[in-house]
């Protein structure tokens, strides 16, 4: 029932970490989710994908480990595409 707000928090956390590494796009997200959260994983994946598309990320693969009797929602890591920008030159005219 709260999959959208949870997806939003996860995506915000991942975007922030990606930006700190100069990463342009997110490829996958590893999560640990406690079973007692009773999160519907398909719904969660749907909303994360919707948020990713809004931010021009390609399809984001979710890798979820379920922790029995747990209540955590932990963003473990994310695989991101890193780009480098090289200055080729300036036009001072």
């Amino acid at each position: 029932m709260h999959e959208l707000s949870i997806a939003s928090q996860i995506w915000t956390s991942v975007k922030k970490a990606a930006a700190e590494h100069g990463a342009a796009r997110v490829r996958s997200i590893k999560l640990e989710i406690g079973a007692l959260q009773m999160i519907e994983e398909e719904q969660l994946a749907f909303w994360i994908q919707a948020l990713a598309e809004r931010d021009d990320s390609p399809a984001v693969d979710l890798k979820i480990t379920t922790v029995p009797d747990g209540l955590q929602i932990r963003v473990v890591s994310a695989e991101v595409d890193v780009t480098a920008s090289t200055l080729l030159g300036r036009d001072t005219t």
Binding site: A17, V75, T86, L88, D91
Partner: protein
């Protein structure tokens, strides 16, 4: 003008290790601290719409207000009906939170209401928004959570809502007087609770008649 060439450096895995529930727990702990500093014993009363949460609170306030300074915070999506029902029963202060659309109270909302509470209260009952699903995942920072279920919700109410009953410190089984009329065998929810939570206190009540309230108060060590 500056000209850049952007090249793909490939993929890397970045460690994030953030528990997004941690902020909720920080806020709940802030409330716990607030209650401890004031010697205030606070209780969260959760349950479906119509299960008997407000009746339980009204009964407890009536019995305790002679010797204690009791406050009530009622939570609902809309209206002030629950706060109105408890007003006049002896509570020193009754507040109503309207969440607008949220299906549960959370520690932040409770903290906001606490800033309006009078000094000198020693017991606080917080009535959560009516349902057996959403409140389960949001700790308020109270001493105990009482979950009220009623005979009219059917024999399988416990099994159908595991997260809520796993978060309970006490379960009140209300409307025992109408169990037969709604064809519910109350031994089933009691058995299910015993299997799910061995040793969890369960009190049967008929709150319209005020029956079982003393046992609830005793279970909460409020007598």
């Amino acid at each position: 003008m500056r000209l850049f060439e952007t090249t793909d450096q490939g993929s890397i895995e970045i460690e994030i290790d953030e528990d997004i529930q941690a902020r909720q727990e920080e806020l709940a702990e802030r409330n716990r601290q607030w209650f401890r500093e004031r010697g205030l014993r606070a209780f969260d009363i959760a349950g479906s719409v119509g299960a008997g949460k407000t009746s339980l609170i009204a009964n407890m306030v009536e019995r305790l207000s002679g010797k204690h300074a009791v406050g009530v915070i009622a939570g609902d999506v809309a209206t002030t009906y629950d706060a109105e029902r408890v007003t006049g029963k002896g509570a020193r202060q009754v507040l109503q939170i309207n969440t607008g659309g949220m299906c549960h109270l959370d520690a932040r909302l409770v903290h906001t209401a606490l800033q309006k509470m009078q000094l000198g209260l020693d017991i606080l009952f917080i009535e959560n928004v009516g349902n057996l699903i959403c409140p389960a995942h949001f700790a308020l920072g109270v001493e105990a959570r009482i979950v009220v279920a009623s005979a009219s919700e059917g024999s399988h109410v416990i099994e159908k809502h595991p997260a809520m009953f796993k978060s309970a410190d006490l379960v009140v089984l209300n409307k025992t007087d109408i169990a037969q009329a709604v064809n519910v065998d109350l031994s089933r929810p009691i058995t299910d609770l015993a299997a799910m939570r061995p040793g969890l206190a369960v009190v049967k009540t008929n709150l319209l008649a005020g029956e079982g309230v003393e046992q609830v108060l005793a279970a909460l060590r409020l007598l």
